[in-house]
């Protein structure tokens, strides 16, 4: 049903990175390992973005997520060092949470993904797609996303100031 070509092989590799990394994050006892798994998973995500012809977002994923957020998390792990290894990784409700997670997955797959999108012909996907330049124009176009774009920058500024205020040592 699926022909093996370089693209699909790359998809499976990246998908495996993504999901494997995710499982690592959710299960690792040592948080440093968890953060490294997170990087692996985000990297897999970036690969999927490239396969989906969104190179700008893939680059942003590497720069923003791996370059900034993951590093931030590693910092946080180190700052709260005494807590990186805990006796108990999970709380009391872990089995119910697992049930919810699996339940959602099953629901999504057999309830939404397969029935709605399962029969979509993969080759019907248009070949000519918007480029990074189109994205750039859309983000600053007065008729498209310039307002959300500006609001997003304000949000980011506010969040950064807020983070500094919250984390600052008052003594």
């Amino acid at each position: 049903m699926l022909e093996l070509n370089p693209q699909s092989i790359a998809f499976f590799i990246f998908a495996a990175f993504t999901i494997g990394g995710g499982l690592g994050v959710a299960t690792s006892r040592n948080l440093i390992h968890g953060a490294l798994y997170l990087i692996l998973s985000l990297f897999g995500g970036a690969g999927l973005f490239i396969l989906l012809s969104a190179p700008f977002l893939a680059a942003a994923q590497i720069l923003v997520y791996i370059g900034a957020i993951a590093i931030l998390i590693i910092f946080a792990v180190m700052l709260t060092r005494s807590m990186t290894r805990l006796g108990e990784v999970y709380n009391r409700q872990w089995w119910l949470s697992a049930l919810v997670g699996v339940g959602f997955f099953v629901l999504l797959v057999i309830g939404v993904i397969l029935p709605v999108f399962g029969n979509l012909d993969p080759n019907a996907a248009p070949l000519d797609v918007g480029t990074t330049m189109d994205l750039g124009i859309a983000l600053v176009d007065g008729n498209q996303f310039v307002l959300p774009f500006e609001v997003a920058s304000v949000l980011l500024t506010a969040a950064l100031i807020g983070a500094i205020v919250i984390a600052r040592d008052r003594d």
Binding site: G22, A26, V89, G101, I113, Q144, L160, I166, D169
Partner: protein, 102 residues
């Protein structure tokens, strides 16, 4: 090309793993990491739909970019809160932070 549903499958799996992590981990940093997983899953979904269903409308990619922004903001504020809590309570275990208890 790889069919759309396989991307969606990956995204759904990642999202559910993230949900599981958020609901079950005790360490607040681990919860935050799981939230990042969920956001990535959302992004994969957004871009996959954009690519297969509406590739000439840039709304899909623009949305994903905004999700990045929100994720960065969330990580910054979330980690700041974790550090502040750690400083005052010497703990990043969410069960220890139960001031909402009635």
């Amino acid at each position: 090309m790889v069919p759309l549903w396989m991307y969606l499958l990956v995204a759904a799996a990642l999202f559910c793993i993230g949900t599981y992590g958020v609901l079950s981990r005790r360490n607040a940093v681990a919860i935050l990491m799981s939230v990042e997983l969920m956001l990535t899953a959302v992004n994969i979904n957004l871009i996959a739909f954009w690519r297969y269903l509406a590739p000439d409308n840039m709304a899909g990619q623009a949305f994903a970019a905004f999700v990045f922004v929100v994720a960065a903001a969330e990580a910054a504020v979330g980690l700041a809160i974790i550090i502040a809590v750690y400083r005052s309570r010497r703990s990043v275990i969410v069960e220890d932070v139960n001031l909402l208890k009635g």
